[in-house]
Symmetry: C2
């Protein structure tokens, strides 16, 4: 298929490379032009504008936040204005439920389709085509997008015909990950201050009830205490908690732990967390316990 | 080996039965005498008092809380007064770190040994000898207890020579489980109120990042909405959060999520939760969201 890919950050670069590897014709676009070079070296065609990236049957977006996606979608020469009728916008960014709804409406009016397909996985998973993808949208559009999504992920879940459902699932998943990070941080501060070996504690957890990738991955990151460079930066984690709280407020669902996490992220950002991985959230419990400075 | 077993509730009955099955001579004792009958039918010897249950090389306790353990250990004809020198008290109950410390001291003075060996697993796991056990105590005592613990569990972790370390690990593990219950309750209330299929949502979680027994077990319990009879009753969950907070206060480690969970348990108990499984904690988010009455 002939497709576009807009947004070549750490996640998008890996995903676009895997689409090329699967044999698709990929037109790439990134605001910072230099990031296009490695993909062009792998056979991608560089686009001079977002409009040029919309010349194919589908266009992916993988951008940092709502503002970036809205600009690329609704701006002059944007996706809504440029994609041909019947074309599919595959939105893989973690955006708000409200923006997904707005996108679906605008694409619908333009005779296009929106497939919301947010991904679970850090940059290494994107590079290795091992993302988990939750997709929602009109069945024929999801069907067309399927081989593309299978080229970038190892697991694909088609959940409903309403695009925003996938975004809510993704946001609530990130809420659960942040909960694991914070609770592990608290438990490990307690265990550590008691003088118990934290590596052995983690081993006990992950070889019993807590034997899941989320505990293994974040337990290892917290144990190592290595939060730079960020795989997923703290401001993005904060953004996702804000978005899940916004969606929950619209639906009138109080989320006490998410509210607590919002304050924890603000504390992290207020104390030098801007360039750290979001797992640095786990350091706050140690700091509160007087176990580390700054 | 000739051993005693004090406390034949849902957990203790299964554990004592597995010790019998492994060929040990087991003297059982329970305050409510009727609970001894099924074990006696399987070959156990009934004791008329706690003192009689202390006639062997080791004695297990599996009781509901600190008060019950303290009474059996320190009371007249209790374990400290009755166990022979060199005898081992294998304490498998989830008790406070402070009581574990007090027990270790008293047994030490009496020339006996304490092995703290709290267990992870619900009654079905106790019955099937599939508990995970965290053991701590003097190395020779843990060595003697090892074949007994292996008869009741599938995984044994010997963590340190200080008994109370095992109790802190157990309490912090229960804190992490309660965190999973509450956060899943919040996420599933949000997903459910948005009209998204909750079973599919759980399937996505547990087949990706959250593929651990804790999410599968509690996700299924929450989905089914079946909280009676309790496998682990809400008041016990509340007790464990209180105990982890007490240990954390002694060590000066603030635990924001544990503090939140404490209030959630109080809310559950104030609203008819006394005889429900602790996973009923997950219903509070739905109730707050106006999705269920009472």
């Amino acid at each position: 298929m002939k497709i576009g890919f807009i947004g070549l950050g750490r996640m998008g670069s890996g995903m676009a490379a895997n689409l090329l590897k699967a044999g698709h014709e990929v037109i790439v676009y990134n605001r910072t032009r230099e990031k296009m070079a490695p993909l062009v070296a792998k056979g991608a065609k560089p686009a001079a504008s977002t409009a040029e990236a919309c010349a194919g049957e589908a266009v992916f977006t993988m951008l940092a936040n709502d503002d970036a996606v809205a600009e690329v979608a609704f701006g002059e020469g944007g996706i809504v204005a440029s994609l041909k009728p019947g074309g599919i916008h595959i939105s893989t960014s973690t955006i708000s439920v409200a923006l997904a709804e707005r996108l679906a409406e605008a694409h619908g009016k333009a005779g296009q389709h929106l497939v919301s397909a947010p991904v679970f996985g850090r940059p290494e998973a994107a590079e290795a085509a091992q993302l988990s993808i939750v997709a929602a949208g009109a069945a024929p559009a999801v069907g067309t997008a399927k081989p593309l999504l299978e080229a970038i992920g190892q697991k694909l879940f088609a959940v409903s015909e309403t695009p925003k459902d996938a975004n809510l699932i993704k946001l609530s998943g990130n809420f659960l990950i942040a909960t694991v990070i914070e609770s592990l941080g608290e438990a490990m501060a307690l265990i550590g201050k008691a003088g118990i070996d934290r590596a052995q504690y983690l081993e006990i957890l992950t070889s019993t009830l807590f034997g899941a990738p989320v505990y293994k991955t974040y337990g290892a990151l917290i144990s190592a205490g290595k939060f730079e460079p960020p795989g997923f930066a703290a401001p993005l984690g904060h953004k996702d908690i804000r978005l899940v709280l916004a969606a929950a407020e619209d639906l009138r669902v109080p989320l006490p732990i998410a509210s607590l996490l919002r304050d924890r992220f603000i504390t992290l950002l207020a104390n030098g967390g801007d360039n750290l991985d979001w797992s640095a959230l786990a350091t706050l419990a140690e700091r509160d316990a007087g176990m580390r400075q700054g």
